[in-house]
Symmetry: C2
Subunit: 366 residues, 2 copies
Amino acid sequence: MYEAYWRAMGDRCSLTISGSDAMSYLSNPKGTCWFLLPELEKSIRRIHGLVGNAAAEAEDGCYIVVGTGSTQLVNAALYALCPRDQPEPTSVVCAAPYYSCYQEVVELLQSKLYKWEGDAHKFNKDEPFIEIVTTPNNPDGSIREPVVNRPNGKVVYDLAYYWPHFTPITHQADYDIMLFTFSKCSGHAGSRIGWAIVKDKEVAAKMTKFVEVISIGVSKDSQLRAAKILGTICDDCQTLGTNTKSENFFNHARRLMTERWEKLHEAVKRSESFSLPKYPKNYCRFSDEFFETHPAFAWLKCNDKVKDCESLLKAHKILARSGSRFGADPAYVRLSLLGREEVFNIFLERLSTIKIGISNGNGHHI
Amino acid sequence: MYEAYWRAMGDRCSLTISGSDAMSYLSNPKGTCWFLLPELEKSIRRIHGLVGNAAAEAEDGCYIVVGTGSTQLVNAALYALCPRDQPEPTSVVCAAPYYSCYQEVVELLQSKLYKWEGDAHKFNKDEPFIEIVTTPNNPDGSIREPVVNRPNGKVVYDLAYYWPHFTPITHQADYDIMLFTFSKCSGHAGSRIGWAIVKDKEVAAKMTKFVEVISIGVSKDSQLRAAKILGTICDDCQTLGTNTKSENFFNHARRLMTERWEKLHEAVKRSESFSLPKYPKNYCRFSDEFFETHPAFAWLKCNDKVKDCESLLKAHKILARSGSRFGADPAYVRLSLLGREEVFNIFLERLSTIKIGISNGNGHHI
């Protein structure tokens, strides 16, 4: 979706790595995260300072841990937060609908450290727990806070989508563990760069240890690239201003997201078979404007006659992930809105022609 | 150690990535390993074909799985080989002295799938097990075969050091699971690229699933870089020949390793306090010469008067990892020989002056 933007940047975002660059395992031997390149750390702290979405300055008293995508850091956070000497595994919960990968991560190795307990709304045990709060949420784009609020709990904030192209930046997040990813910030999923902002030094050190044992650090080539691209976004935010007509990355991307959501609403209206969540309008501190959340995913609900929305869409050649994968009703599906322009337009065309309750060509109701 | 070689290659090994390159998660949607870039797969199969160290052609009936370093693939192999429905965790063993990280990997998350059982020589249970065979071995450089040889066992071959700069290529390895890493092949540890050559499609698919859940794939930037550098090594092996005076990477690197080992033997001789293992001389099919193994690490033993070699060396400002970390006697240490030239020379100077049994300046025997 953002490929054309980055193509138009030409050489400004190109990275050249010579055969003798970045050969060592080590990046910052004395740092808490010894494999984090100082130039990436600088770009990360800088972009959060400019956007205002998270407290990430060194003087905020926090540490940066880099990971192979934020997915690796979800794993690392669970490892760091679960004590090794407990008789029972620590419960991990997330309010439904929740990102389907959390459950996969928790259950992958049948760890004795933690176990998946599903929907946070249903958790009522007097035991230690970890709640993952994704805000804006994947899959439904809702703005969230912790829901368990019991003693002995720890919260991991997955803020992958808390950037001004997806949602108004209403406040500076300042939590114990916050996860972000290059993938959702700028669209560079292939680089697999994520980062955690961590208040407690010991937790940061344990997360670092996890990444060390699992993969002995994180690609330096991708760290260099992320440092450069995030740095260029920052440069443009500063020189192009945040509310003028010249577009920095976030304003450009927000315009694209807004257009896609307008088109999606039109297609849904034409079809008369689906509904979409409503999102609040809020003031964004970064862009100095009021606007609605425009999530990276559509959380689409079929009307009452259809129980399995994924199958319905599949019959119309639309790939979507069933609500059941997210701990929700299969009348819902999650649809990615971040694909290439031509793919998005074909999807809209197909979606707008689906009429539930009207006989199809075979004489069956679909 | 190899930095100067790669610097001398100039632009031939430089990689330029524009801002719009390699943005997607996907590399090869229809491949068994969907995040493996086809150009990297091609370079991997090609270099093994040229070197003759492993059967890795598609017609050999094998699959390539890429990982964030081969460390991630050790994790992935254990996940893929341990059934989920067993009452007891599968035992993981390795003949001592063994690479210290295996134990850390196995014990990291207290998985119910597998458990660390230590020295393979001591394993005599009638239970399913996985034996990791590292050859040439880390830490001691020995050439190895499986030692358990009981029913219900599976073997993972860690062949990180089975390249012609470290050891003669005596045969084409052709095992069920073989692990390699860019780090030890060319020295590019910072890129975190490893690969597995896997015979069974289902095992390859499970390893892919592990990497998917843990980190949603592997940095494309580093995959592109590894593809280019391995490709250049191949080009030079073909155009420069393998036994002429013009040096391809492996011949160059072998010369450096040979020189370092000669200097190390001299220093050890001068000191009269240590001993080193002896290595066999063998015919190398790649370079068409007879030579000794020149391991990446020295497995140094203090003479009988010293019980803790690591502490002795530390007192002389030499960093080494104690034999106890490798399931062996602390009279041994592992020393890396792959550092920069100036670091290596300082190390030799310090080592050669250590005299055990001779009073030091404080009147104490050391």
